[in-house]
Amino acid sequence: MTTEYQAVIAEFEPIIGLETHIELGTNSKMFCSCSAQFGGDPNTHVCPVCLGLPGSMPVVNRVAVESTIRMGLALNCSIAQWCRFARKNYFYPDMPKNYQISQYDEPLCSDGYLDVTVPTENGPQVFRVEIERVHMEEDTGKLLHAGGAGRIHGATHSLVDYNRAGIPLIEVVTKPILGTGELAPEIAKAYVSELRDLMRALGVSDVRMEEGSLRCDVNVSLNRQGEGWGTRTETKNVNSLRSVERAVRTEMVRQAEQLRLGERIILETRHFNEETGDTTSGRSKEEAEDYRYFPEPDLVPVAPSESWIEQLRGTLPEIPSVRRARLQNDWGISEFDMQSLVNAGALELIIASIDAGVQPSAARKWWTGELTRVANERDCELEELTVTPADIAQIEGLISEGVLTDKMARSVFEGLLDGEGNVTEVIDSRGLVVVKDEDLLVEAINQALSESPDIAEKIKSGKVAAAGAIVGAVMKSTKGQADAAKVRTLLLEQLGVKE
């Protein structure tokens, strides 16, 4: 932790708040039967409803309501007996109707909490994040700015793809999170991570962060000890766990600088720059945009019955924190180790690898070792690497069949990470085949012995430990494609030495 950050903490108390939008994994859109699949040729997943054509009307997707209620229940919220959608009115070309159907003062779920665990010097610490509300809304279309740098500034024109328009979104809003102290960035990250795991565990979304299906708005304010709350800023569209942490931290440092200079913080939205980690000023909220919310008259209210809610409560799976405790016990690892692999974003990948047939220890070794190192080097999330749990299962299988050595396996990973193709393609292109021909190996052993006659004598005289040097030379001359144990056995046979 930088001394700069330490100085901020010594002088100020942070208050953070998080608004997280997550695309639900329903088959169809929020208000029509168009496919909600990601991608597709532009403007192919569209109909009169999600294009907002005159006369068209929305109809609520029951599965989306169900998913939202389940999410609310998992977040310990109370579920509204009766609530309405509202229109949020503003003009923007990615919004077909120039209003967004959302929920305003009558959210479907409210007043819950989520416990998150963060690492501290004194071991993992549980922190309760209170949830203000969980509500449903529709996504907007996507703008593509052509000519220029892909940004609206300097563009000659913009194209709109309405495939995303009407995809169901769930928005989870926290209450102001107080008393975090220096842990604010970690708590923010742990909260989003826990929320993501919860969504996945519930099966309501697979939360593909690389496709932008989770977007986080990060609110931060600072105040000096004993003073009232400071003015907050809202950093929009922070799209990865690491970025959430960085956005909180850099915004705290930036605000502290301003405040020390005696300047006031402006209530505004800010943009997060993934490359630099800085935030830059967006639109001022001081003259707040007036969204003219009113109840959506094209939809009937949502009134989930008590029995439906109870039935949905019965479908809730083991929640992630409980599951983590169980796995920690199954794998026989410490709370600290569990916490580090969670922080590294490795837990789900390890579980997926185990599900694909990998031994738990091997799965942990790859994801928390080599792959975490590469992810850190590349400054990205583990799940953004081009290695999948299925790849690990395949490689581990090849190792146990003796087709690959441990060393060669590392080379396969290198190839996968560099985008050289799938496991088989990498093995082929890199020529990674274990030399099994004993004659070839014996030839290589004799060659090595003749090059180091002194070592040969040592081994013969009973210093078996010296065999390592010869094995090493053979591995080198076979470019690592021999099985070291096999080489050692053959070598000792060759010299007539027993272990």
């Binding site: 209003y99 007036d290 009113f294 009937v300």
Partner: protein
Amino acid sequence: MSDLTRQSAATLASAIARKEVSSEEVTRAHLDRIAQVDERVHAFLHVDPESSIARAREVDQQLAKGELSSPLAGVPIALKDLLATKGVPTTCGSRILEGWRPPYNATIVDKLSAAGVVSLGKTNMDEFAMGSSTEHSGYGPTHNPWDLERIPGGSGGGSAAAVASFESPMAIGTDTGGSIRQPAALTGTVGVKPTYGGVSRYGIVALASSLDQAGPCARDVMDTALLHAVIGGHDPRDSTSINKPVPDVVAAALNADVRGMKIGVIKQLKGEGFQAGVLERFNQSIEILTELGAEVIEVSCPHFEYALGAYYLILPSEASSNLARFDGMRFGIREDDGKDRSVEEVMSATREKGFGAEVKRRIMLGTYALSSGYYDAYYGQAQRIRTLITRDFAAAFSHVDVLVSPTAPTTAFKIGEKLDDPLAMYLNDIATIPVNLAGNCAMSLPIGRAPEDGLPVGLQIIAPPMADHLLYQVGSALETALADRWGGLLISEAPTL
């Protein structure tokens, strides 16, 4: 069969079913009538004779094969121009939608098509249904067939005039605050606003979603009932449509009997502001209903005096949002001078050019009423009034079966007479608006001509939600009694043009 355009829809349907006449012949007769008189009436914005005739031939073939058994098969209809019709221009009376051909049909357009009803074209209306005279159309006013210098009412003046001028035996209108009933009253025709949710709104370009309702227009009660039965019912694409069977309106129209029924006269809707001749005809109808065996009593709906105010907050609020999508980006006109304009500039220029003054006025009103800090005082307060009006109706219906009032306070006024006085124009809907606010159903029935100007007067019958059949039962009884006196329907007295 003598002049096909003078027949009722029911008569035409049964003649077509008996193969005495073809749908093609009936359709051609009406297209000829349109060609003959519509230059003067201007009921239609879009007519495509070839496709109407082609469709009529298809229906004739289906009928010949016995594939259609609907009670209106082969009968032509006129559609208000805010119904989305696939591939057919749909302007909502606005220049902003000029050239737009929707890629889909409104649910009721599909229902009519499945029932073998043949569209003659799209009818004129006040722009986006905002108005009571059809003068606010972006394509010029419609003229009242009873007196071409007068307005036919609005917003559905085109649909009412098409029926009154015998250009079409029936039409579809929409009613947000009286847009079916007031034009019916002013043109001597029958118009019904069904219970809110009784007819699908899917594909009907929304003015005020919580008030809008499509309904039938025709020259007599039975035709209106037949059309109501075809278009009514639940639609999975409109979740606000009621998932219950449509009341049997056709059986009710046959049951022309008010003996023992209790009919309430609304005290607040028969005094100040109502034209003398209108009240005279209204009182005469009350006497007839009494003679027919109904018990007529006066009821008070004390909150109706706030209805107009509440309506002119709720409607503009919803309209300001519903009309936001007309921005030149995806459909209709786009105002772009080719210079390096931002999207905001293009949207703004398109809306400035495409919308008329009344639409702009209501968008401004609604935007203001929904603004932060004003919402509670305007939109919120209006919703409370709405609840009180609904309670007034519920209290009244606890002692009467139906309520009656004059449909409109005056007969048809001259074109241009109230154009510069929005408030005077809004007052035309004083008797019809409470019904939309509460979601009830109501009918306007011709009850004679005002002695002072010889123009038609309408009586409004109001029933509780989902009791639409009562409108037809009472309407049919009164219509029969009046026709007996007059020796035919009032509409037969209309000028032949």
